[in-house]
């Protein structure tokens, strides 16, 4: 009986422990062709660009990833920041009084809305493009915030949908519509 029951218990424990400690980075949508980015594309059909993680700068970790028919969300955290940065792809966004800044890519309008600069540097970036928008919500302590914003923009890039569609078709025979 022991011979039968302990492996089961051990398996249950291992899977439970593995799941509890599962590396969130496994789910990270990297800036490379593949289904992980494909499902981000499916979450906002038609969005011309898709947010993805190019490389995580030193000290940054990928915390969570969620995707559904309303969009995709992920968060990143730096060891020099006490709060995570939330990145969300949605079908459209209201930029309000946000100020335009240098666009991040061709066909993209980028805006910055800073809500606080006194004790903390808090606000949002918007990347607006055809049929989609990426919102970056940040809340950094003043001081390291300049470096952190630069690192964030270096970490999260925009991947062209058209390029992904072609690559998915060529590599996996998957037709990404639209």
């Amino acid at each position: 009986m022991r011979a039968r029951r302990w492996p089961t218990a051990a398996l249950a424990g291992l899977v439970a422990a593995a799941a509890a400690c599962a590396d969130a980075e496994a789910a990270m949508p990297r800036c490379e062709p593949g289904q992980r980015l494909g499902i981000v594309a499916q979450s906002v059909p038609g969005a011309a660009y898709l947010p993805c993680v190019a490389t995580l700068p030193p000290g940054w970790t990928f915390e969570s990833f969620e995707v559904d028919e309303d969009g995709a969300r992920f968060s990143l955290r730096s060891d020099r920041a006490d709060r995570a940065v939330d990145v969300e792809l949605v079908a459209g966004c209201e930029v309000g009084p946000a100020l335009p800044v240098a666009p991040r890519d061709e066909g993209v309008r980028t805006y910055l809305a800073v809500s606080s600069v006194s004790s903390r540097y808090t606000g949002r970036f918007y990347d607006v493009f055809a049929d989609g928008c990426v919102v970056y919500e940040f809340d950094f302590a003043r001081g390291p915030h300049i470096a952190l914003v630069a690192e964030l923009q270096q970490a999260v890039q925009l991947y062209p949908r058209r390029q992904l569609r072609q690559e998915l078709h060529d590599d996996l025979g998957i037709t990404l519509d639209p």
């Binding site: 009986m1 022991r2 039968r4 029951r5 089961t8 218990a9 398996l11 249950a12 424990g13 899977v15 439970a16 422990a17 593995a18 799941a19 509890a20 599962a22 496994a26 789910a27 593949g34 289904q35 992980r36 494909g38 499902i39 499916q42 969620e66 995707v67 559904d68 028919e69 590599d171 996996l172 025979g173 998957i174 037709t175 990404l176 519509d177």
Partner: protein
Amino acid sequence: MTLDRAADHTAPLPRRRPSGEPPPLPRPVSPGSRLSLLACALVALVWVALATQVGTRAVTAADVAVLDALGRLRNDTVADLARHVADLGSLWTFRIVAWTTLLVLIAVRRFQHLLVVLAVLLVVPLTNELVSVWLGRMRPTGVTIAGPWDGYAHPSIPVANLAVALTAVVLTLAPPGRWRRRAVWVAVVAVGLVAAARLVLAVDHPSDVAAALVTGAAVPVLAFRLVTPEEAFPVTYRRGVRAHLDVGGRRGEAICSALATQAGIAVTSVEPFRLGSSAGSTPLRLTTDDGRDDRDGDHRAAGGPDRHLFGKLYASTHLWSDRWYKLARTVRYGRLEDERPFNTVRRLVQYEDHMLRVFHDAGLPSPEPYGIVEITPDREYLVLTEFLTGARHITECGDIGDDVIDGALAAVRRMWDTGLAHRDIKPGNVLECDGRVLLIDVAFAELRPTPWRQAVDLANMMLTLGLCSTPERVYERALALFTPGEIGEAFAATRGVTVPSQLRSLLRADGRDLPARFRALAPPAPPVAIQRWSLRRAALTLSVAAGAVLVVVLVAVNLRLAGLA
């Protein structure tokens, strides 16, 4: 007293089971288990395929072809209906069904099933979650997705969750037979509808649904079959001790067959016997063939041949009880005596048979052992002894005479003299037959026990006798065999855990406070401590506590990850 088979030409002859011949009650590998294993292997292949480009191409092409066909059936009405049906696979359905199952299993105290259900409800969703992240599969493409979705596509988490929860209900709450067949149909229809709805809505690929059905249904089926097989852990709502096994049907036939081929005894009926007095095994009365009377038992009823044998059926379920009972005793009281659990049923029955022979050889009044019969190798065995026809529990005899008191006390004296302890002296294990006292159930007996345990045996015997007599009379008779100091030591060593629960409850019902009255009669003796502290006990207690905390934390954390909280 021996089994004289040679004298009886009608009796079956024992024979060796040839290699390759199945045992009397082979552990069946049902077609369902085989199918489940095959399905699991196929799903593993699909997962490997989906991890490669070539495999993904092939599986996706097949999936899209099916979804295309289903898509042609879809119109607004069908899509609306499918969306409503797909809602059945929501996380709340999973939570309600899963928590209800767990609570019902707690309420009916079926803890082995509870542990397996908990493990399955955690492991299956978490494994699916890990696989879905590992594969990172997209939702169907080339078709219009017409329903809500979230997360990666493979395997279909809602279908798997619903399947695992309903499979747990079917296998742990529905008794086999008509109720289980009905439950299976309900589960199949519910899961089938949700799976079909998700395919019609093109939310999942067919391979996502197929993998979910396998992980959600086949994996739990295998887990329950492996850890809590129906033969050992029956799903039943009958009152009574759960250690008792059903001895009808295949098991009853197997017992008869095993007795014929292994012991050369033709048995015509197998029936449970005094189930209430045994919590750790299934006691049986075996009726032998009419034409056969090969036991010249000393204790048979006057006027008729002894046509019965006594059997104690042990199965793997008893190891579970033995292990937890001994662990709990070690943690609560330290290593008072040998608390090593048995690793196999075979060792458990070998020990009992050995102790029966030791008692018999020592001249103690106990049933004659006839050996062990194998029902299922390493899982089920029958310990065979003579049947004490006409014997009654000592407390059923009313006011007992001096000869019975003397006989019972002499048995304890004999155990002391031969270095034995019974360790479970209680009214249920002290029988009276034609003025003779008999000790039964020597499964807990020990050779060369501690003086403490020998003293406890004496106290428990005197308490048992006191229930059928007066303490003064029992004490007076005991003085013929034991010194006042020995009796004083016996009651100084007796308290709480040392008194078997049956004796404890009868003492409570008696209301005379027999231990106090015996203590008053015997010379005072310093109390004997029953707590034994050692480094080993401290380490074991800490390990058990740490293990329990770890399990609670892991379960709590994973309940959320598995969607149960």
